[in-house]
């Protein structure tokens, strides 16, 4: 696996709606392996690997990341922010960020020092957070091309932890894009495979909606992250998924109920190929499959997830064994798609016309 590319991928800027930088990176890499690559009107990167015209499958991973936009700059040069996507405010204090103006400027998320804190603190909200770029006043901020609406992203590179575990600010969902890219390199199928790096997932599964409509696939699989709560204090049966025990297939989340037949098909292949696979059930959270499965007349869809610790923080952590297994599984699924029936049941009697009454009750 091309860990060097993963390093570039997690570092590239791509707050929802501002995915250009990461999109260009993905496009130029995809062009090496796909038959056709385009960036559509919404900004989705769509790579096509042609099959034998048996059908169409769409693999989607979102390339946008959570972040912030500048909402106000006060006269002392402090920058106030609005979140883009689901931000856990508790993780923000003392965070280093990059403010995007004429150039990239480092900023820090300040907080009131403990020495002067009131005894009864109210719960922290996003309005209490401000970014300090070291400017003396508003003028100095404006001169740097930072204005209301400028974006702010987390800072940080991909770091290797113990064993094959890695951490970065944007595993959600650059690790999914990475899985797509590795799968693209090896994929063979009778189906046309559309590899889609989608925009604006974090604000409501938006890019997948239009790219799904455009492609109109027979089958859709979103590749995303899910919670691995295998951390202290959480009992085994409440962990949802665990690191290193394989990718996870979605039974249900807030956005989609994984197609039963497709899930069984994937689970069977995992079993045959000895690939570990977990089951994912969430009462919150959603993925691009949430919009893909509702496209036009409906699309058989599910989500394959990489178990990830500390999702939506700057220290999201994955195990490369799970990533490798996800790629292995997807390659096999694509290869064997011929044996999956995208059937729609039909029963019609040969008797012409209104035959309903004859057999009814």
């Amino acid at each position: 696996m091309d860990i060097e590319f993963l390093g570039k991928l997690v570092k590239a800027v791509g707050v929802s709606g501002y995915e250009d930088e990461v999109a260009e990176l993905i496009k130029s890499e995809m062009e090496k392996y796909a038959d056709e690559v385009e960036i559509d009107k919404m900004g989705n990167v769509i790579g096509l690997k042609k099959g034998k015209g048996k059908g169409k499958i769409m693999l989607a991973a979102h390339m946008d990341e959570i972040g912030f936009v500048v909402s106000h700059i006060d006269k002392n040069g402090f920058i106030f922010i609005s979140p883009v996507g689901g931000i856990n405010v508790k993780t923000l204090i003392s965070r280093r960020v990059i403010v995007h103006g004429n150039e990239r400027y480092y900023g820090i998320m300040g907080s009131v020092p403990p020495h002067i804190k009131e005894k009864e603190e109210k719960e922290l909200s996003i309005e209490d957070i401000f970014v300090d770029i070291g400017a003396k006043d508003r003028e100095e901020v404006l001169k740097k091309g930072i204005k209301v609406g400028s974006i702010i992203t987390y800072d940080g590179d991909l770091k290797k932890l113990s064993g094959r575990r890695y951490t970065s600010k944007t595993m959600d969902d650059r690790i999914g894009v990475f899985v797509l890219m590795e799968t693209l390199k090896k994929a063979k199928s009778s189906y046309d495979i559309y590899f889609v790096a989608t925009v604006q997932e974090e604000v409501g599964l938006r890019g997948a909606k239009t790219s799904g409509y455009k492609i109109s696939p027979d089958i859709g699989i979103a590749v995303d992250v899910t919670l691995a709560n295998d951390i202290p204090e959480v009992k085994e049966h409440k962990r949802i998924t665990e690191l290193g025990k394989g990718p996870a297939i979605t039974i249900m989340d807030r956005s989609v109920i994984g197609n039963k037949r497709l899930n069984s098909f994937i689970e069977k292949i995992a079993q045959e190929e000895n690939i570990p696979l977990q089951r994912n059930i969430l009462s919150r959270g959603g993925t691009d499959a949430g919009t893909i499965h509702l496209t036009k007349e409906g699309v058989i869809s599910t989500t394959l997830s990489i178990p990830t610790r500390f999702v939506h923080s700057t220290v999201e952590c994955v195990d490369m064994n799970d990533v490798e297994n996800a790629v292995k599984l997807l390659v096999k699924v694509l290869e064997k798609l011929d044996s999956f029936a995208v059937y729609q049941e039909k029963k019609t009697y040969s008797t012409y016309g209104r035959s309903r009454k004859q057999s009814y009750e």
Partner: protein, 337 residues
């Protein structure tokens, strides 16, 4: 009785197979789509009418098994945590029996007695002796249903999932009749988790108008203020003017009311802007689909024990039939077609 079979069949959102198979067994022609919606079509002349009822019911899903063999679960669809405790349930296709446990009153502290136990603190007990024992019977992802058997009691019937098996039952009845216009029947999936099946079915059928057949709440119970008691049990089917998901097409609503009045069928107006139905997804399909909702007021829906009124059921069926008959005789004139 068809309604009895429908109510006893199990099918939470995404797991509608049993209900779908039952309905299929009553149809000579049908097709299913990628999501599992069941669709019937009769081509005819004039207006293209879609009737819709959802097959899924609210329920639970196994999300974990603890070291002692108790099952953790999540909710599928909107369920009040207070109705869960101390209920019998069945799990999965093999209908494994279980109960949602509750601490006996002897062991409760005073403050515990006053509190609702949230669903994620509850557990299902299948009598397993160990985690391994439980894992042999059930698995993570298995659907869980209330173990309620359909009963009749004088002028009432009591059962689970009257929302929306009454709609399915009446829709099946309507498909028995012959009409000259194009009639599409849609038995939809995944309504309870967000009107999902209806969205793709409506795109597929692309109807001129749609009538959604539903089970809704009846609010004439002692715990609800009198001025809010609408619709009531036993006072006829409920016509929706608006709910949280749709503002029904006014021409259709008037047509429904007028038809009820002309035929001396009692009806009531559902309390506006409460609840949501498949019409919420259907009316926004493509360039828009004028949609209406007719529902059976049922007490205690989204719980293991919903109760319906036989007279209301009969009147709802009659009203839907008269509406279809009039669409045929007036060839959709009421809608300016």
């Amino acid at each position: 009785m068809l309604l009895k079979e429908l109510s006893n069949a199990n099918g939470t959102s995404g797991f509608e197979d049993e209900v779908r198979d039952l309905i299929k067994s009553r149809l000579s022609t049908y097709r299913t789509d990628a999501m599992g919606n069941l669709i019937t079509s009769e081509e005819g002349k004039g207006l293209k009418v879609m009737l819709a009822a959802h097959m899924d019911e609210v329920g639970l899903i196994v999300s974990g098994i603890d070291d002692d063999g108790y099952l953790l679960f999540k909710k599928v669809g909107g369920i009040d945590d207070r109705v869960l405790m101390a209920k019998r349930v069945v799990i999965g296709e093999n209908r494994i029996e279980g109960v949602i446990g509750a601490k006996p009153i002897h062991l409760l502290k005073e403050e515990e007695k006053k509190k609702t136990v949230e669903y994620d603190k509850l557990y299902i007990d299948i009598g397993a002796e160990s985690k391994k024992d439980a894992e042999e019977a059930v698995g993570i992802g298995d659907p869980v249903y209330f173990a309620t058997e359909f009963k009749e009691n004088g002028h009432c019937f009591i059962g689970k999932a009257l929302d929306d098996r009454v709609g399915c039952s009446i829709l099946l009845d309507m498909l028995k009749k012959d009409f000259s216009f194009s009639l599409y029947g849609a038995f939809t999936v995944q309504e309870e988790v967000g009107l999902r099946g209806a969205q793709v079915v409506a795109y597929d059928i692309d109807p001129d108008i749609c009538i959604v057949l539903e089970g809704t709440f009846a609010s004439d119970t002692p715990d609800i203020k009198e001025e809010l008691q609408t619709p009531k049990f036993g006072e006829g089917p409920a016509i929706t003017v608006a709910d949280r998901s749709v503002i029904c097409d006014p021409k259709l609503v008037n047509f429904f009311r007028d038809t009820a009045e002309k035929n001396d069928i009692p009806y009531q107006i559902k309390r506006p802007f409460t609840g949501g139905t498949d019409a919420g997804a259907i009316h926004l399909t493509k360039e828009g689909v004028p949609s209406g909702v007719i529902a059976l007021p049922s007490r205690y829906i989204h719980s293991p024990v919903s109760m319906g009124n036989k007279e209301d059921y009969k009147n709802m069926k009659e009203l839907v039939y008269k509406i279809l008959e009039r669409i045929e005789s007036e060839k959709g004139d009421f809608y300016g077609h």
